[in-house]
Each structure stands twice: as C-alpha cells, then as structure tokens.
Symmetry: C2
Subunit: 179 residues, 2 copies
C-alpha cells in the first residue's frame, strides 16, 4: 500500500525543486547529500525512495518536462505545430529546460530500462496529426515532425549552439513545405 498524499508528495516536490535549482545554479557534480540539504530533507530518504542519483535526476527531468510544452488545438495543423514548436523553442532557450533535457539524455544510458519519453511526446503529436487528417489536411508522419522540428532544436541545446529566435516556426514551415 502506497501513500501518495501529504508528506510524501511534499518531499517529492521539494526534492525535484532542489534538483532543478541546484543544476540551474551551475552545480556540475550534484550529489544526493547536496540535494537533500537544499530540499530540507534527510539524504537517507532520497536513497530509500530513488535508490540512485541517476534515478532521481531522470525522475525529476521526466516529471518536469511533461508539464511543459503541451500541444494546443488551434483548428489547423500549421497553427498547432507552430504554437507547439514555439513552446519547445522557448523551453530550449530557458536554462531550466536546457538542464532538464540534458539530464534526460544523460540518464538514458542503453543499459537502463527504456523511459519512453519521446514515445509519450509522439503519442500527443499523433493525436494532433490524426485530428488534422480527419479534417482533410495533408499530414506528415510523427517521425517527420521529430526529425524536422524537434531534432534540430534539441541538437542546438545539446551542442550549445544558439537557439535563434523564430527557428521553431521556420522548422515547422520547412516540414509543411516538404509534404
């Protein structure tokens, strides 16, 4: 029997906050004791709940990234994708977003059980695309959206290239032009 409410939730949120804040503060080597101190929590609690630092970082990254960049419903595929791409672009220009993406990638080592983050993202895209197809619009495949839009944005962050303003919209236009 699990107890999701009350103190447990408070501790979980405090630890997640501490992770993001610590990484955002430029802490290169975040450790469990440092995170625990900032969260006002005992290190043992973190070890008991998450086991390893990697698990914690991954959990924090996935949890927080899921809350950002939802896909709106503007009535047209171009509008939906453009708004979404602008959201992603904005997140990728934000320091927290960059750090979370980096943490997500860094903890997705091949030997871990797969965390289907992109799959969840892809499912959302698929729904948007299906709706557009039902309206009779010409639609791309999900993989095309990832290749044309998401991959270039992620590449810029991971390799520390500048995220040019408006690049998200340009990438969407490029995708639609290729249809």
């Amino acid at each position: 029997m699990t107890r999701p409410g009350g103190r447990s939730a408070r501790v979980r949120d405090a630890v997640h906050d501490a992770v993001v804040e610590l990484l955002a503060a430029g802490e290169t080597d975040a450790t469990v004791p440092k995170i625990a101190e900032r969260a006002g929590v005992n290190p043992t609690s973190i070890y008991r709940r998450w086991g390893t630092l990697d698990n914690l970082l991954l959990d924090a990254a996935v949890t927080r990234l899921r809350e950002t960049s939802p896909i709106p419903d503007t009535g047209s595929l171009r509008g939906d994708l453009t708004a979404w791409a602008n959201g992603v672009e904005h997140a990728m220009r934000d320091r927290h977003g960059q750090i979370l993406l980096r943490a997500l990638v860094a903890t997705m080592a091949p030997e871990r059980e797969p965390v289907e983050y992109l799959r969840a993202r892809g499912d959302d895209l698929q729904q948007t695309i299906d709706a557009a197809a039902a309206r009779g619009e010409a639609v791309p495949a999900v993989q095309d959206v990832l290749d044309f839009v998401l991959a270039p944005l992620y590449l810029r962050v991971l390799f520390r290239l500048p995220v040019e303003p408006g690049v998200g919209g340009e990438l969407v236009e490029r995708l639609l032009r290729a249809l």
Copy 2:
C-alpha cells in the same frame, strides 16, 4: 617542453581504449581507478594528465569521434553528403559510436569551456559545400546539413530510437530536395 612520443602516447591510447571498452561493457559508473586498472596504468597518471573523469571522457570521445566518418570527395555534393551520411549512420548503429556520442553530449555541460566539436564538423562540411559551389552546384548552408541530416541521426541514438537502414541517404535526399 612536452614529450608526445613513446610512453606518453602509449598510455594515452591505452586509457582511451579502456574508456571505450569499459563503457561498451555496460559499466554505468566508470571511475578513474577502474579505467586505470583496465588500461594497466596507475590512477595517479590519469589524474595528473586529465584532472577529472569528465575531462578524460570528453577527450576520449572527441579524439575517437574525430577519427570516424570523414567526408570523402566523390565529385558531386550529393555523392559526398550521401557517403558521409552513410558513415555517420553506420557509426550511430555501432555500439561504440553510440557510447562516444553519449559521452560527448553528457560531458558538454554548459559551465565547461565550449568544446567546438560540431564547429570542427561544420568546418569540414563547409569545405565540401564550398567546393560544390565552386563547381556551380546549388548548395545548402552548413546549418541545414546539421538540421536535416545530423540532428535526426543523433536524436535516434540519444533517445534510443532505432536507426533505420538507409535513413542517412534519405535524409540527404530530403535536404537536397528542399533546396
């Protein structure tokens, strides 16, 4: 005065090999002592030369990745890019290539001095593109090559999506079609 030859070079190569082998063996938490043992080298030698584990991983990744996927000269831009993309695709399907890319990205945290890995890659691409332009071909910008070809390939590896056979060539065709 530095002594690049002889023993130093042997140690450097042995350590680089040990890094790649250890990571390829599924070692999640590689440490300096473990690397040193596998390389048949004293841990102190590694600390003295590289300072930190991150520096070592970054150096190993950059050094080894630089040796792979050179851009050939086939006489046409399509031929050059296709051959290069095939090489990158092949490296991205190889376990060592995946690990090196992951190590490269993981150690490129924002607070380090930038390691212009992509810039070096971009310079090579620029030369190829300039040569094609001099022959009168229609050419893309370097950033377009990175966005259309490299980013999708890297995305697949970093998020553990399958690298479909022939995807490199398809991405190049898509790029050239967009011109």
